[in-house]
C-alpha cells in the first residue's frame, strides 16, 4: 500500500508538485500523465525512495520514506519493480545477468528463476539477445530489458516510466498485456506515459485510474480519456 499525504516536491526552486494526496491500493492499476517536464518522473522517484518529499509524507507499507534507513530503502526496493525512463545497465554484464541482477543482489538463487527468466525473455522478444551486452541493444530493446529486470523478482508493485516510448505499437501492446497479466495476479501497477493510445488500449482490458499532473497538482482524469 502506497500513501501520499499533502506531499510537495521542489528541486530547490519553486515547488514542482504541491499538496498531493493519494492512496494506491494493492492490486490497482494506475496511469500517470502530464506534459513533458510536469513532474511524472519526479513523482515516481518519490514512490521509490530515490527522492524524499520536501513536504508531507510518502508512506510505503506504512513507513514514511523520510524516516527509512538506507538499508530499509534497499529492502523496500526489492518489492518494487522500477522501469526508469533512462534505462541504465551494468554494461560489462550480459543481458541475462542484467535481468537477473535483482535476484543476485538480494542473495536469491538465480538458478530457480531460470524458467521464469526464459519465459520473460521470450515475452519481451529478447531471447535472441540474451547474451548481448547492453550497449549492443537498440533503444526499444533496452526498454524491454528494463521491464524484464523490473518484474523478475515478482515484486508486489511495478512502477514504469514511459516504458513504451521507444517501441512500436505492436510491441507496446505486448508489454501492456504483460503488465495487465501481472495486475491480474495481484500486483499494483503504475505507469507514467504520455501515450494516450496506450491508456485507451489498457482501459479496454483492465479497470485503470488515470492521474494527471497539471499546474503542480495531481488530478484524477475523467472518463473522457
Amino acid at each position: 500500500m502506497i500513501e501520499l499525504e499533502n506531499v510537495a516536491y521542489s528541486y530547490g526552486g519553486g515547488e514542482l508538485l504541491s499538496n498531493v494526496s493519494l492512496s494506491i491500493q494493492p492490486g490497482s492499476f494506475h496511469f500517470l500523465t502530464g506534459p513533458s517536464g510536469s513532474g511524472k518522473t519526479t513523482f515516481l522517484k518519490m514512490l521509490y525512495g530515490e527522492l524524499i518529499a520536501t513536504a508531507g509524507h510518502v508512506r510505503l507499507g506504512g513507513i514514511d520514506t523520510r524516516s527509512m534507513s538506507r538499508d530499509q530503502i534497499a529492502l523496500t526496493r526489492r518489492s518494487i519493480g522500477m522501469v526508469p525512463q533512462d534505462t541504465q545497465f551494468l554494461d560489462h554484464l550480459r543481458l541475462v545477468e542484467n535481468i537477473s541482477l535483482p535476484l543476485l543482489v538480494s542473495g536469491r538463487d538465480t538458478g530457480s528463476a531460470q524458467t521464469n527468466l526464459d519465459d520473460l525473455l521470450r515475452w519481451v522478444g529478447l531471447t535472441n539477445h540474451a547474451n548481448a551486452y547492453p550497449p549492443e541493444l537498440s533503444g526499444g530493446e533496452r526498454q524491454r530489458a528494463a521491464l524484464a529486470r523490473a518484474v523478475i523478482m515478482s515484486p508486489s508493485v511495478i512502477l514504469a516510466d514511459e516504458p513504451t516510448g521507444n517501441v512500436d505499437w505492436e510491441m507496446s501492446q505486448r508489454l501492456l498485456t504483460l503488465l495487465v497479466e501481472l495486475n491480474r495476479l495481484g500486483k499494483t501497477i503504475l505507469i507514467a506515459t504520455h501515450d494516450l493510445t496506450l491508456i485507451r488500449a489498457a482501459k479496454a482490458q483492465v479497470q485503470a485510474r488515470v492521474l494527471r499532473i497539471a499546474e503542480r497538482r495531481l488530478h484524477l482524469a475523467g472518463a473522457d480519456l
Binding site: L51, L75, R77, Q88, L90, D91, H92, V105
Partner: protein, 301 residues
C-alpha cells in the same frame, strides 16, 4: 574473535558472483597495482638504507667510545707513579667506563707504522698510553684535564680520535632521511590508493546507481569494490616487495671491510617489516576504498 579467520578467508575467497558486479576497471586497476608495487619497492629500499645507516652509526659510535687516550710523558723513574695516579683519577671521573694502561706489546704495535716492526721500544723515551672508554656522552674533558694536571703533571689528554664524530652524525642523519623517505612513501601510497579508489568509484557511478536501484545494500556494494582494491594493493605491494628483496640480494655486495654499504640490507627485524609491508598497504587500501565507497554511496539514494 573466533570468527575472524573465517571472515578473512571469506573476504579473500570472495563471492564469485558478487564480484562480477564490479566491472574490470582497466586503467585504475593497473594504476593501483603499479603504484603499490613501486611504493613497496621504494619503501623496502629506504628501509634497507635506514637500517644499514643505523648499524653503521652504531658501529662507529662504539669505536668512538674508545676514542680517548691519555699520554704520560715523564722521567723513567716517575713513570709508574704518575701512571697509577692518572689511572686513579680516571677511574673516579664520572662518564668514564674504564681506563687501562697499554702493555709494551700494544704500544709497539701502535708505533709500528712509524718505526717498523723491529724497533726496540725500551730504548726509546716513549710515553705511556692509557686507553679510556667513555660510557656515555657526559664526560667533562676540561674538568678531567685540570684534575690530571694536579695529580699527574706529565699526563696529557688526547681526543684526536674524535674525528669520526661527524661521520657518526652523518650516518644518523642518513638513517633519519631514510625514515623520512619511508614516511613520505607511506603517505604517498595511501594518497595514491585513495585517489585511485575515488577515481574508480567516480567512474563507476552508474554501476553503483543501478545496484542501488535494484535493491542492493550499501555494505554489499562497498564490499565488492573494497575487495577488488584491497586484493590489488596486496598483489602490487607483494610484487614490489619481492622485487626489492631480490634486487638487494643480487646487488653486488662490494669490497669487504668497513665500507658504508658493504652490509646494505636488513637484519631480522627488517625482514619482518618487509614481510608485513604488503599487508600494511592492503590495510591502507581497505580503509581508503571503504571510506570512498561509503562517501559515494551517501551521495546516491
Amino acid at each position: 574473535m573466533k570468527q575472524l579467520p573465517k571472515q578473512i578467508t571469506r573476504f579473500i575467497a570472495g563471492d564469485a558472483q558478487a564480484d562480477r558486479i564490479v566491472p574490470p576497471t582497466g586503467y585504475t586497476a593497473e594504476l593501483t597495482i603499479f603504484a603499490a608495487a613501486v611504493m613497496a619497492f621504494l619503501a623496502i629500499f629506504s628501509l634497507a638504507l635506514s637500517s644499514s645507516m643505523g648499524r653503521l652509526a652504531d658501529r662507529w659510535s662504539d669505536e668512538l667510545a674508545q676514542s680517548l687516550t691519555v699520554r704520560i710523558s715523564a722521567p723513567a723513574e716517575q713513570m709508574d707513579a704518575q701512571t697509577s695516579a692518572a689511572l686513579n683519577v680516571l677511574n673516579t671521573t664520572p662518564g668514564i667506563a674504564s681506563a687501562r694502561a697499554f702493555t709494551d706489546e700494544e704500544q709497539q704495535a701502535l708505533l709500528a707504522p712509524w718505526f717498523g716492526a723491529n724497533v726496540q721500544i725500551d730504548a726509546l723515551p716513549i710515553p705511556r698510553l692509557i686507553e679510556v672508554i667513555e660510557d656515555d656522552g657526559s664526560l667533562d674533558i676540561n674538568g678531567l684535564r685540570l684534575r690530571l694536571q694536579a695529580e699527574a703533571p706529565g699526563a696529557q689528554v688526547d681526543d684526536h680520535a674524535r674525528w669520526r664524530g661527524p661521520l657518526v652524525a652523518s650516518a644518523n642523519r642518513l638513517r633519519l632521511v631514510g625514515w623520512m623517505a619511508i614516511l613520505l612513501i607511506a603517505l604517498t601510497t595511501a594518497a595514491i590508493i585513495t585517489l585511485a579508489a575515488n577515481a574508480a568509484l567516480a567512474a563507476n557511478r552508474q554501476v553503483i546507481f543501478v545496484l542501488r536501484q535494484v535493491g542492493a545494500r550499501d555494505a554489499y556494494i562497498a564490499m565488492a569494490f573494497v575487495r577488488r582494491f584491497t586484493l590489488r594493493a596486496l598483489t602490487g605491494s607483494a610484487i614490489g616487495t619481492a622485487l626489492a628483496v631480490i634486487f638487494m640480494i643480487v646487488l653486488p655486495s662490494g669490497a669487504a671491510g668497513n665500507g658504508l654499504l658493504t652490509d646494505f640490507g636488513f637484519t631480522g627485524g627488517g625482514w619482518l617489516l618487509a614481510v608485513l609491508l604488503p599487508f600494511f598497504v592492503a590495510g591502507v587500501a581497505f580503509s581508503a576504498t571503504n571510506a570512498a565507497a561509503r562517501r559515494m554511496l551517501r551521495s546516491l539514494t
